[in-house]
């Protein structure tokens, strides 16, 4: 396992950006859906959740990368789960200490970070096979992608469902809130709409390239 990649690829900007766009955990990989939808009914909750998850992810990735030659292959999953659970417990206490309001708003979902497939997947599939720097940079990128995805969902849901953005009113006093956006179905619909939009952009891009090839061929 330790010799999986004799020549590790250099750490480039792409190591970081990969997690934000090409392998965005929410929109492309569809990982970590549960907290995504559950806490994305306001911008602040969504971003706080994203940041907490990203910090746990980076810490766990650093740990897995440093101990990649010490942990036997057979027990790696259990080890990683326990490591992640430790960091999540720390995060739980930290959020409790910083802001009680936030702690109550996020509720059990802070502890549920531990079962976020995004973290275990990244730690097991990526960080445990790479040296410290690329592992941490990549984990930070994926974490940033997760925050970005949560922000996209939270912003749409809060603006439509409550008429506010991070607590500030955007539409003036006569806005009739679109309540369903704050409720569970809204989460599914907004995520579905984002996925549709991204699929459409991707399909359009692919079509453009295909068209270009055709015209190039003719010309």
């Amino acid at each position: 396992m330790a010799n999986a990649s004799p020549n590790p690829p250099p750490v480039t900007m792409d190591t970081f950006l990969e997690g934000i766009w090409r392998e965005n955990p929410i929109f492309v990989m569809m990982l970590g859906m549960c907290p995504t939808l559950a806490v994305s009914n306001s911008v602040i909750n969504a971003v706080a959740m994203g940041v907490a998850t990203a910090l746990v992810l980076v810490a766990a990735a650093a740990f897995a990368s440093l101990t990649r030659k010490l942990i036997p292959h057979q027990v790696r999953l259990v080890t990683y789960v326990v490591v992640i659970a430790t960091f999540v417990t720390i995060m739980d206490y930290v959020i409790h200490a910083i802001s009680l309001d936030l702690y109550n708003a996020l509720g059990a979902f802070i502890q549920l970070i531990v079962v976020n497939t995004l973290i275990l997947g990244r730690v097991e599939g990526h960080a445990s096979k790479r040296p410290l720097l690329p592992a941490v940079v990549n984990a930070a990128g994926v974490g940033a992608g997760f925050v970005l995805g949560l922000f996209c969902l939270g912003a749409v849901r809060e603006v439509l469902g409550n008429g506010t953005f991070a607590g500030l009113h955007v539409f003036g006093p006569h806005f009739q809130p679109w309540l369903v956006m704050m409720l569970p179905p809204g989460g599914f619909f907004v995520l579905g709409a984002w996925l549709l939009l991204l699929n459409w952009i991707k399909a359009r891009g692919a079509r453009r390239i295909a068209d270009k090839e055709v015209t190039d061929g003719i010309g």
């Binding site: 569809m30 970590g32 939808l37 417990t89 531990v114 569970p184 989460g187 599914f188 699929n199 399909a203």
Partner: protein, 194 residues
């Protein structure tokens, strides 16, 4: 400590009103992943329910033990380990008695261990202070709710394979929107219980 909710109301609450998947967004990874076909959705639901009940039972006694020794900060870690063992147990039983289903579920079966829907009942029952019977009824209800949700979605998705859908909507987007409609339907139960 303790909660005086009646058992019936806890059960209905967990199955319909606060359905774990559709109104609390728990276990969405397996929900979106395994629901493509009805034949795998049902066994998956049953496996999840079983793990939930076993996990909730173990977690209840574990929690008593942790409180006795003043070790509440170890709660999360110990719950996770207990659930992982319960999943292992289900895996072994399934491999022996239902090898076809075992193969069909593939990677999603071990992944139950990192499924939030399974970790949630122990956490919620601790937070709400349910006693032993209440905890069991709660986790059973949560499991039934999961089965109901995943079987409904699997039925819808099987129908969708015959439908002519635009290419942009294929895959994840369609599934998520279908789940949204189901979730909208389940909101109708909100007046029930409470």
């Amino acid at each position: 400590m303790g909660s005086d909710e009646s058992l019936w109301s806890i059960f209905i609450n967990a199955v319909l009103v606060n359905n774990f998947v559709l109104s609390m967004f728990l276990g969405l990874c397996s929900y979106l992943g395994v629901s493509a076909r009805y034949n795998t959705a049902l066994p998956m639901g049953i496996a999840v329910t079983f793990v939930m009940v076993v996990g909730s039972l173990c977690a209840y006694f574990l929690n008593e033990l942790l409180i006795y020794f003043d070790l509440e900060f170890l709660r999360l870690i110990s719950y996770i380990v207990v659930i992982a063992s319960a999943v292992q147990l289900v895996e072994m039983v399934m491999k022996k008695y239902a090898p076809a289903v075992f193969r069909a579920l593939g990677i999603y079966l071990p992944l139950i261990a990192t499924n939030c829907v399974v970790l949630a009942p122990p956490l919620f029952q601790t937070a709400r202070g349910y006693d032993l019977v209440q905890s069991l009824v709660f986790s059973l209800g949560a499991g039934c709710g999961y089965i109901l949700a995943i079987v409904l979605l699997a039925g819808l998705r099987e129908r969708m394979q015959l439908a002519n859908i635009p290419s942009v909507a294929q895959g994840g987007a369609l599934t998520v929107i279908l789940a949204g409609f189901l979730s909208l339907a389940f909101m109708g139960f909100a007046g029930l219980g409470g």
